[in-house]
């Protein structure tokens, strides 16, 4: 009953005209960046982070959340019609989605992807509503040791799932921690790694780092070669899947939804892992696995449901524990912090309007996305024809303005350009930026919790293994660290390795 009252309260907040407008802007921009290859939700959210300052916390965060789950919808359009994933979570959709489009079945592919996404998105919201308040109650009992170990686990999971060698990903995570520690020490107020520059006393901002590593570096990488587009030009008719399509897709949608939601909750996991895992699961369960790769609708329905369910699930660790499970959620954490809010176990009780408002807005956003994605498909196809030689300079200008407006400080523009150049060379040398960014956000929190637990336990390191939750997290992290050394597990890791930045 309480939940229903809270949901009603949430709808009261989400249905305010200004919040509806921000929700629409969010899902529209999300679909847009999902459709356009070359810019993903991370770049778009970092670009719009300063905009959240202009409104209430609810409006800003509703818009940011809309960009995230909107991009999950939009990404499938590009994958199916152009065979280029609009964002990383839609990589798998290219395999069967584009084949279906080539066979003249682009409509059902787009349709099942939108309906699957809608069903999964709605399920994950219901689960979020039911799980989050209970988990928040448990999380109140978490001490610094549990928080530290959970963050270590999150980082290790992300490095485990990052493309390329694990030592490289771990090195990136360490660099992220170091960058996060720049500025005044929160306990002793001693300046660290500031090199006498006043601009560094408050540390490096998240916005310039993310915009540099994901926005500018992405543009630099994309300028290297002309992006080839194999757009399906045939007229798209009959978006509604037929009875046979629904029968074939019902199981994959249900399994993808459940799997995606569970993987979304895990720290370090997220939409990309979920879509890959769902595809692998469907192929394994299929009686005719040879159809996969040649236009099997199950290969579209499962992954598309999984990535949307994961996008919803990823809100749970952020809202209940205050720990962002992936880079996108780290940006959302940035939006909370900008407004002086701290997500965590007390958020739901102290700011019920905010929490339930965001949840309710996601219901509304999912309906908006269904409307945006089906009837407006022609418009998105036209958009795919936008020339990149005009788009890329505009992205660079917007990133410069976005960074400057977030702090009114030219120094941040320099930081962004520097990180853009560093990010480009990092990617060329096979160093992925995702672990760096997550560690950059988690670094100060990890340090704080580590030092607090050591002070509280009077230097007893056993405190991390004597507490069951902390011990379980560390044991899992250790297993993941050892796993790549075993040949069989190394092969599995390479199969699910992902490129978060795409």
């Amino acid at each position: 009953m309480d939940t229903l009252l809270n949901v009603a309260h949430g709808f009261g907040v989400a249905l305010l005209p200004i919040n509806l407008l921000y929700c629409f802007i969010g899902v529209f921009i999300g679909t847009l960046v999902g459709v356009l290859p070359g810019i993903g939700p991370i770049s778009a959210m970092s670009l719009l982070l300063p905009v959240t300052l202009s409104g209430t916390p609810e409006s800003g965060i509703i818009m940011m959340a809309g960009i995230y789950y909107g991009s999950m919808y939009g990404g499938s359009t590009t994958s199916i019609l152009v065979n280029i994933p609009g964002e990383a979570a839609s990589v798998v959709t290219c395999i069967d989605g584009h084949q279906m489009a080539k066979q003249g079945r682009a409509g059902p592919a787009l349709g099942i992807s939108a309906f699957g996404s809608f069903i999964a998105g709605t399920f994950s919201l219901v689960a979020l509503m039911l799980v989050a308040p209970r988990l928040a109650n448990i999380a109140i009992a978490f001490g610094p040791a549990e928080y530290f170990s959970l963050m270590v686990l999150g980082l290790i999971v992300l490095t485990f799932l990052t493309q390329g060698s694990m030592p490289k990903a771990l090195l990136m995570a360490c660099i992220g921690v170091v960058l996060g520690l720049i500025g005044l020490d929160s306990i002793t107020a001693q300046p660290r790694l500031t090199f006498g520059r006043m601009e560094l006393i408050d540390g490096i901002g998240l916005v310039p780092v993310v915009m540099g590593l994901f926005g500018v570096a992405e543009v630099l990488l994309n300028t290297e070669q002309a992006i080839k587009r194999d757009i399906i030009n045939a007229r798209i008719t009959q978006l509604l899947p037929n009875k046979a399509d629904w029968q074939a897709s019902a199981g994959p949608v249900a399994r993808g939804t459940l799997l995606g939601f569970l993987l979304g909750i895990l720290p370090g996991g997220g939409a990309v892992v979920a879509s890959f895992a769902s595809y692998a699961l469907e192929k394994r369960l299929s009686k005719t696995p040879e159809r996969f790769g040649h236009g099997a609708i199950e290969g579209v329905a499962g992954p598309e449901s999984a990535n949307n369910a994961a996008a919803g699930g990823a809100f749970i660790p952020l809202m209940t524990l205050g720990i962002p499970p992936n880079v996108v959620m780290a940006l959302l954490l940035g939006a909370f912090v900008i407004h002086g809010l701290q997500p965590g176990p007390l958020l739901i009780t102290q700011n019920p309007g905010l929490f339930w408002g965001i949840v309710a807005s996601m219901y509304i956003g999912n309906v908006m996305l269904l409307i945006l994605n089906l009837p407006l498909i022609g418009m998105w196809v036209q958009l795919l024809k936008l020339p990149y030689n005009i788009l890329f300079p505009l992205i660079i200008l917007f990133t410069i303005l976005g960074v400057y407006c977030s702090s009114n400080n030219v120094f941040d523009v320099y930081v962004m350009i520097a990180f853009g150049i560093i990010g480009y060379f990092m990617r060329k040398l096979g160093f992925e930026p995702a672990p760096l960014v997550l560690a950059f956000v988690l670094g100060p929190m990890m340090e704080n919790n580590l030092r607090k637990s050591l002070i509280l336990s009077q230097g007893d390191l056993w405190t991390f293994v004597q507490r069951p939750i902390s011990a379980a997290c560390l044991a899992l992290a250790l297993m993941l660290l050892i796993a790549p050394l075993l040949p069989a597990l190394r092969k599995k890791r390479e199969l699910v390795a992902l490129d978060e930045g795409a």
Binding site: C174, V178, L220, Y404, Y424
Partner: protein
């Protein structure tokens, strides 16, 4: 020494250089940690986490170096095989020049040439389209930010913007 061995031990190995840069950074972080004071395990100082993170960085960097020596790796040049390296380089030069020009020239005088250069360099847009976009987009953004959102953009020594 056969061909394969010489390939493995070559210095022009991007993995090796990546590891060495990581090692140098790790060493620097350790040094900074020590400089900031480690404190004790009962009461960790400001350099405590930096110091141990630096050690971890060195461990991971050494592991990258060892694997680069043992298994070899792509050359630096091969990372840019089949792609046009000149375009990102030109964009980097433009962005670096822009970062030097932004404060003295202000937003408008630095961003209009930047846009024009990017539009002409990445994949040349015809002049008749490039010039209006390069001029109107920064002007439009400047107007929206300054007049509507009341955000002061850098106006430079000439006070333009």
């Amino acid at each position: 020494m056969n061909d394969q061995t010489s390939v493995k031990l070559r210095l022009n190995n991007s993995e090796l250089w990546g590891g060495l840069i990581g090692l140098a950074l790790g060493g620097f972080v350790i040094w900074q940690g020590v400089k900031l004071k480690l404190g004790t395990i009962n009461d960790p100082g400001s350099g405590y986490v930096l110091f141990y993170t630096g050690i971890l960085m060195c461990v991971f960097a050494v592991s990258i170096v060892i694997s680069a020596i043992a298994e070899g790796g792509p050359t630096l040049a091969s990372r840019w095989d089949n792609v046009s390296w000149s375009k990102p380089l030109l964009v980097i030069v433009c962005l670096t020049a822009f970062s030097f020009a932004l404060e003295p020239l202000g937003f408008l005088l630095s961003s209009i040439p930047l846009m024009l250069l990017l539009l002409r360099l990445i994949d040349p847009v015809r002049w008749t389209l490039a010039v209006p976009i390069a001029a109107l987009v920064p002007l439009g953004m400047w107007w929206v930010l300054k007049r509507l959102l009341l955000i002061q953009l850098p106006s430079g020594l000439f006070g333009i913007g």
